[in-house]
Symmetry: none
Subunit: 164 residues, 4 copies
């Protein structure tokens, strides 16, 4: 791998908060504006948006919860890749905000959205770092049974996704 | 990594133009239609859309500026991955066109949108090549201070994002 | 039509600027945030966003051009309907901003987007006023000929929608 | 109704084709580009897009079926309102194309999408005409029973919207 080193960065997330990692641009504008989009998406949301900038080499952060800001900025800094953003959520789920994020004009793409344990796979070159994938929890080992299919639908109903 | 070779392709971009790299399909249609979407998005935009096709093995290109067309097609060819597109912009910024691109029916995803120095990380197999990540400028090395947060907001205001 | 009075409000637009009229909500937030969405959509855009609020009964306005702000707020006030917004644009066309507006979380719908002479048809009840339609220039009186179809395509090419 | 005359235009649609009526702008560009968006949305679609322009006062039309083009342009001309478009579809349903239409940069809004008998309610002033509503088939006269709720779900399943 001429000039490319692959490593992994374990995400620090002791309370299993919801995490969204993606790629954007225009960090000085984006950090605040993604935060505003999250506030607009869900009433009472607690969140932090950290985002890396190449020049100056800084992790920016905006949020309304000090704990989430600290974790988001620390994780984003450890990933290190420029223009990568790291979001942490409370009182909200990825399904409440992914629509708004994907259509936001500074967002290029979303790598992952999950409360599972995460490991970010990063490529490093002389220039800098790139996210090349995210391990989103343990891998699977078999296909569901009919009984398990029934159970997942019951679980969805218990979660409120029920049609009388 | 049996059968997978990882390499990096440095993007040639001597004048630091805005670059957008993504994955799409239906190259013979997409190349012109993405170009048309860019024209529609920003008045006076100068741009070039290069896109790779697997069969025949060709880099296609459409644009309204010869310099951008040459750079876009040369970079796209060097990346080599089929169905990857490489866009170069003038008189416009990614935030002006990412919405139109992400919602365009031929676009699968956007890898990066930036004027930073770029290195595309590519996986090569016997079949062909795949973009697996993009290094988007130098990596970060610390979290911004309160003073730097204040400065970035002042910078946004200088750039016109001010509400009287 | 018991209790419903229909009137028309001629839009004042002496320099034939581009106008967009729509319905939204949350005026105190929307007025600034729609303005910000317009700034993000087109580099160098000049614009004003006026929007009516029911309580207190006020036309709000935000913008970066005094002339556009004056016209937008005067027209919005004369329409009078609560939660209606009136946008005026310079250095940009509706096709450059309609995507951003339609996907903005405060926008319910867009009534019209045009630089034609406009008359807003308004229904008035005891409670208040509602936009029920907009006359967007003179009505048509015949179907185009094949020659005229050819001419419109040539006009599009002259406007830059040409693919070499 | 000082200076406002309300009338209705019955839509001519002898074979109960799918119809979509909306408001847009930039007719010389839009007529072809909405057609292209429809072609992109559904394989094998037959369709016609007619759209009114204020100056010159013409109904424009683009399509790939002569019968649909004739009906779409005749209906659009009779509605008369500038910047209104009238689409007719075959081999496709509104649900296949509304997403693409609503996000198209020339589209302001959609008035109706239906194969029901339609009457367009139009306001006419000295300046021109405005669509103010569309009667989309007969009005309702009672609420469904539990049995009818069950039947509609069975109908959806018969139509292929079934989850094993």
């Amino acid at each position: 791998m001429a000039g490319v080193k692959i490593e992994r960065v374990g995400v620090k997330n002791p309370e299993e908060k919801q995490v969204i990692i993606g790629q954007g641009n225009f960090t000085v504008f984006a950090c605040d504006d993604i935060f505003r989009a999250l506030l607009t998406a869900v009433p009472g949301i607690k969140c932090a948006v950290a985002m890396n900038e190449a020049a100056p080499r800084l992790t920016r952060v905006t949020g309304n919860d000090e704990g989430l800001k600290e974790l988001a900025s620390e994780n984003c800094l450890r990933i290190g890749a420029s223009h990568t953003f790291f979001i942490m959520l409370d009182n909200a789920f990825p399904i409440n905000v992914l629509g708004a994020l994907k259509s936001h004009p500074v967002v290029a793409n979303i790598y992952v959205a999950s409360a599972n344990p995460l490991e970010v796979v990063v490529a490093e070159t002389e220039l800098g770092r790139a996210v090349i994938g995210v391990v989103d929890g343990t891998s699977v080992n078999r296909i569901e049974t009919e009984e398990e299919k029934k159970e997942r639908r019951e679980l969805c109903e218990k979660l409120g996704y029920v049609i009388e």
